[in-house]
Subunit: 272 residues, 2 copies
């Protein structure tokens, strides 16, 4: 299975231009799955809810999903990308997985970051997963990295690969995603954006360094902070299904929910 | 609050010699809390249960705990160290926190690694905590790092500092403990041993690089792979009680157990 990320600097408030770039990247990348940044159809720094509403789209029948979905069917590839989602009166920071069979899996970010709370609604999704070439692909978005429960929940539900669209502004996440891969023995693909965005006096710089990490914590591919690029790696999903770390240790069988306490799924009566 | 680690190479099967070294380190270190490696009273590579049983001790009334407890009372310092514990017929890979008020908190490692499963019993402890100079000190041991639930459970129960005795043989944990500190906004003190141990044809090399990490993921102190040393840092426990990462985000209030699923404490009915 060939997986890649597309690191670029989406144009603020230009869904049509960003769609052209996403389509070109998907067409040119020799991958089964391409992971793209958070909110890469719209840019990030929304000044208010009206401005967000003007560029938000429905899933799966908005223009970006329809166009990329048709391309996935045409060329037999899958894509995960972050998108501003409109659903009824709701506006969500979402990511969607589109597959060649016409499937669309939508995940709404569970942990909104900072000013996102001013403009997006906050219901969030439980683990969301789709199948690409027989591999289970789970989705998390940007700041979800800071909560170990998100990657853990995806892995416990069988994810082989975690697709992780991001708009990272701090330097910590890339190393932490190595830990997420190690602790769950899953592949992770963090597609971060790059560049600087300035809207209405706000200015944010993004940290790039998108990466693909193996279940053993090895970086199989990584971008520089500033470049726009596609990078790819060949993954064997079977590596993520073997949770063994020694002949006697299996990361899932060795879990001790009986000791973790009720806040983490433990037996409410036991106190080992 | 002044915290340190003591990185050294314990002598196999020599509790008296190791006790002398622990006492000397505690006496000479200008710290409120000294964290020492896993199983540092005995060494690590037990060939069988009889050999382990010969050097295991009771907690708190075995010779090592009695001597170090008296020293803690005398000089007003606290220590965490790994010890082979005998309790009835049971033998446990434990760590104990001794405080100047005569307190002894014992934690039994929840996740035994590889050949430890041949000789130690495996009940494990739920989160264990003690108070040092007003700070809550939680305990985890070595391979517990690989399970995010352990540090999470300690932090959710209020730990300001995680004391982490270790006998690490792989290179991953030190970076992962930066993630543990970041995701929980707690201090962590990993006291790893160094050196090589050879018993009965088995040979294991330990990776050193003990460290003290801040709630923001900064390494406040770190040892080299091979040196024997005490390193210290001044910690302000209040930094670990503020879980805010932006004006709008708090790492604990932002948790979404309703979305994590029943395996991680979620509502068994909800499916967001």
């Amino acid at each position: 299975m060939n997986v890649g990320f597309y690191q670029f600097s989406p144009a603020y408030g230009d869904p049509e231009g960003n769609l052209r770039r996403l389509a070109a990247a998907l067409r040119s990348a020799a991958v089964d799955l391409l992971v793209c940044p958070e909110l890469c159809t719209t840019g990030y720094l929304f000044l208010d809810r009206d401005e967000l509403n003007a560029v938000a789209e429905r899933i799966p029948d908005g223009p970006t999903c329809k166009a990329l979905g048709a391309l996935c069917r045409e060329i037999g590839r899958s894509i995960v990308f972050g998108i501003a989602e409109r659903a009824g009166d709701g506006l969500f920071n979402s990511a969607v997985l589109l597959t060649p069979d016409g499937g669309a899996v939508c995940y709404r970010k569970a942990h909104l970051f900072d000013t996102e709370l001013n403009v997006f609604d906050r219901p969030g999704s439980s683990p969301r997963m789709g199948i690409v070439k027989g591999a289970k692909v789970g989705i998390m978005v940007c700041f979800d990295w800071r909560f170990p429960e998100v990657a853990r929940a995806l892995a416990l539900e069988g994810a082989d690969v975690i697709a992780h669209p991001a708009n990272l502004v701090h330097p910590y996440c890339q190393d932490a995603m190595v830990t997420r891969s190690l602790e769950n023995r899953v592949f992770s693909v963090t597609a971060n954006r790059t560049g600087v965005e300035e809207t209405g006096g706000l200015r944010t710089a993004f940290t790039g360094r998108s990466q693909i990490v193996s279940p053993m914590g090895a970086r199989l591919a990584q971008a520089d902070p500033d470049e726009e690029c596609v990078r790819t790696a060949i993954l064997n999903p079977a590596e993520a299904r073997d949770k063994g770390v020694t002949a006697r240790n299996d990361l899932f069988r060795d879990r001790r929910p009986d000791l973790y306490g009720p806040a983490l799924g433990g037996d409410r009566r036991s106190k080992g």
